[in-house]
Subunit: 478 residues, 2 copies
């Protein structure tokens, strides 16, 4: 690669192009074509998320991509928040439709009218449904492949309960799931913030969102989970009969991991100057076998390469050999750029001795491994690899945490790419003016308060000087 | 169920509603909500199809849902065939778009402009890509859930080659894949027809389509594969440099199994008067454990039921127990309707003796099985079950085959729900008038000639009396 990762923006542009992750030349603005190397990984991410959702009692359903405009108008904040971003269908063939239809920007207004029909009594609760889908939003912010585009791939789960306590527990479960998947399995560290009241999901009571840190010191929002309370249940008439025979509105939550955006975080956090470093479980190819031809021994070397691919495959390792006419050095660079976790080098000596050279992608450590032990070695090292990747990413993330008690210090820390804790007057609507001033003076955004961590505020609001009642976190954002 | 399967139309309406396969009450005409019981099976169908596509060298990609109108106009027959069915997006937020965008009715015109960028030399070929997606078509025919709706779920593969021979071989591979999946694994028999020239996919050289037989004697088209030749390569400029350094147009094929429609065929072909009969591999629950409570022994029976579920699950069998307050008889009927392949009955006697009653859904055969042998029994019987289901379905399909040499006989056979071989003048455009007359007089459709079966025509065209040059098949169609 030409660009070092310290030059993150160029690095990102280059890697998404050169590793063939996507193609920006599609002729609709803000839309990209996702290419096989990224899609193969994102399909595995979907499978992992679906397994977690099913383990926690969710069932799959498919809701229509088109939603009548009137559905949006049922929840006033929701319509306000989303209609400016909606792609509208008004015609089909030569016919003008009676009512215009929105391409779903999110599915609350498609799903909850059905929930109202499906839920009668307590035995229908909890109702926990997930939907793997694409959504479309006419973003006016600059688009960036995987990070923000007008079409993105996500999975949304929408749950309904008979009590607020259960809904609150669901929000916790969603956050735990995010940790289990995104940190534990994909190795991307983040923190959950309770978003300020002025920055909630349109229609929610509270929004909890995971922020990870990109290498340029800007935070990227990963999944958010929303406590909807009865805000949607009322307009959509989602009710159940309680034990006393009385009709009661359900309590709802929704959760939406954007697979394409989480992929952006994975490649950004783990990548290095040589290119991608993919988590073993997500890599389309987990071990690449590179034959090093020697005059006269070509067939011996190639035969051994095929044998090793078969051997690794039979242990369930996704292995391929590169028999192209490129030089070994070119192949090393190429497969390092693609982020393949293990490289197995086979020269004439290795073919004869059966002792192979194995190189780990993340730390480039070399080992000599006997053929009979190769599969077990790869599987064991794969565990060490993701563990090391997590440790490294976590250390980098923690080094980004900082604090400030003055606007000057805050501005300095933000310039250094930090996520900065500051004393703040209020996370309610009253605090919005101070957040605006932070934005105007430092271009930092108030992300909210740390969820699940009691942090007592000391001193005065960094902006207005009133007594602080919250520790707010500020960062530059994507 | 109220309706017997002999009353197919009512049976189908009832089963899709009562087994909670879909909900027709969504408020956009022609769109349905696919509910968990069907989606869980369709997700497995996708996984099976994707495995086959990857096995045959296809890679996954995701193309945008929106296609600029001008892309459609590049291939004149394609634009003619599809634009009357397109949902158009002309506005986003409050902005009128510069060019209106089609919600993809199929992806040729989105994909091939990218193929033109991706393919340079022979080393880029063959290019074999699949895309799991939904498509939208403003159908004017009556919609029927799973069978025909304005949004459907499919998987499309689009392949490019350097020679016509390879493209033709791909069409064969697609047909073999259809047999491997739809007949061998899902148990639905069909035949492949080469469609008449007047009934091709818009823009194709030839269309080969699988027709299966629904219980009311009407054929339903399952996957079709299309030899596109260079018809799209030319307008979309999909070229490669051949060995002589000359620029040549690629030869293309496309294949599109509609998962939701194949699901319709599966439930229709295998279902019976008691409801669904799901193929073992596709069933969301493969074994349902029904405890039969006896006063005083409730806890023994329930504990045994839980133990049996754990035992089956540990062997990879999707098992659940029904602990609801319904009667055993109600539960038997319910799970039979849902098509669960095996039922395990546990009463007080079974709980004590450890010898359980197992009932197969397809033939309702009962067996006594010792607890220690249960998992192996289910796995073995599962193989026998799909094999028996295939045999039964194939016998029914073959009994539908018939022939006729006069229009009177043809009309009679069609009334009996047959797929009728007739002598026919021409499958080229010249034959279209005779096909129209068949339609007008018998409401039968000419489906084409049997693919891969040399059938020599004798006598004269059943319509115009000219010398027959093809054995055409006629059927009523969905």
């Amino acid at each position: 690669m030409k660009n070092a990762k310290s030059n993150f923006s160029e690095w990102y542009t280059e890697i998404t192009k050169d590793a063939k992750l996507c193609d920006l030349r599609y002729n609709v603005k803000g839309f990209v074509v996702f290419m096989p190397w990224s899609v193969a990984s994102m399909k595995k991410m979907y499978a992992i998320y679906e397994r977690e959702l099913e383990r926690t009692g969710h069932k799959p359903a498919w809701f229509p991509a088109l939603i009548p405009e009137s559905n949006f108008h049922k929840e006033s904040r929701h319509v306000e928040g989303f209609t400016p971003e909606v792609f509208w269908v008004e015609k089909a063939g030569d016919n003008v439709l009676e009512e215009r239809l929105a391409m779903r920007p999110t599915s609350e207004t498609a799903m909850y009218q059905m929930y109202s029909l499906w839920i009668q009594g307590k035995s229908d609760l909890p109702l926990k449904i997930y939907h793997q889908s694409q959504v479309w939003r006419y973003e006016t912010k600059a688009t960036r492949p995987f990070i923000r585009s007008r079409e993105f791939y996500w999975i949304e789960s929408h749950d309904a309960f008979s009590s607020l306590a259960e809904a609150e527990a669901q929000v916790h479960e969603d956050m735990e799931m995010s940790t289990n998947v995104i940190f534990e399995q994909f190795g991307v560290p983040f923190v959950f913030f309770e978003r300020p009241q002025w920055d909630k999901f349109p229609g929610a009571v509270n929004t909890y969102a995971a922020d990870c840190m990109m290498p340029d010191g800007r935070v990227l929002q990963l999944p958010s989970t929303h406590l909807l309370g009865q805000n949607f249940a009322k307009p959509f008439d989602v009710k159940f009969l309680n034990e006393k025979g009385e009709s009661e509105y359900c309590y709802q939550t929704c959760y939406g991991p954007a697979i394409s955006r989480i992929y952006a975080a994975i490649i950004s956090v783990h990548g290095d100057d040589s290119g991608l470093v993919l988590p073993y479980e997500l890599a389309p190819v987990q071990a690449i076998v590179v034959p090093i031809p020697k005059k006269g021994a070509e067939e011996t070397v190639n035969a051994k390469a095929r044998e090793i691919v078969a051997l690794l495959s039979s242990s369930g390792i996704r292995a391929e050999a590169d028999f192209s006419s490129n030089t070994p050095g070119f192949k090393y660079n190429h497969w390092e750029m693609q982020g393949v976790p293990f490289r197995v080098e086979i020269g004439a000596r290795e073919a004869e001795s059966g002792e192979l050279t194995v190189v780990r992608r993340d730390n480039k450590a070399k080992s000599k491994v006997k053929q009979g032990e190769l599969a077990a070695f790869v599987q064991k090292e794969a565990k060490a690899q993701i563990s090391d990747m997590k440790k490294k990413a976590l250390a980098e993330f923690e080094a980004r945490m900082s604090k400030a008690e003055t606007m000057e210090k805050l501005a300095d820390e933000l310039k250094k790419g930090k996520l900065v804790a500051v004393p703040f007057c209020s996370m309610g609507k009253e605090g919005a003016a101070c957040a605006d001033e932070v934005k105007a003076k430092t271009s930092g955004d108030v992300r909210g308060t740390r969820f699940g961590k009691e942090e007592r505020a000391h001193g005065n609001c960094i902006v207005c000087g009133k007594k602080a009642c919250a520790v707010a976190y500020v960062a530059s954002q994507y």
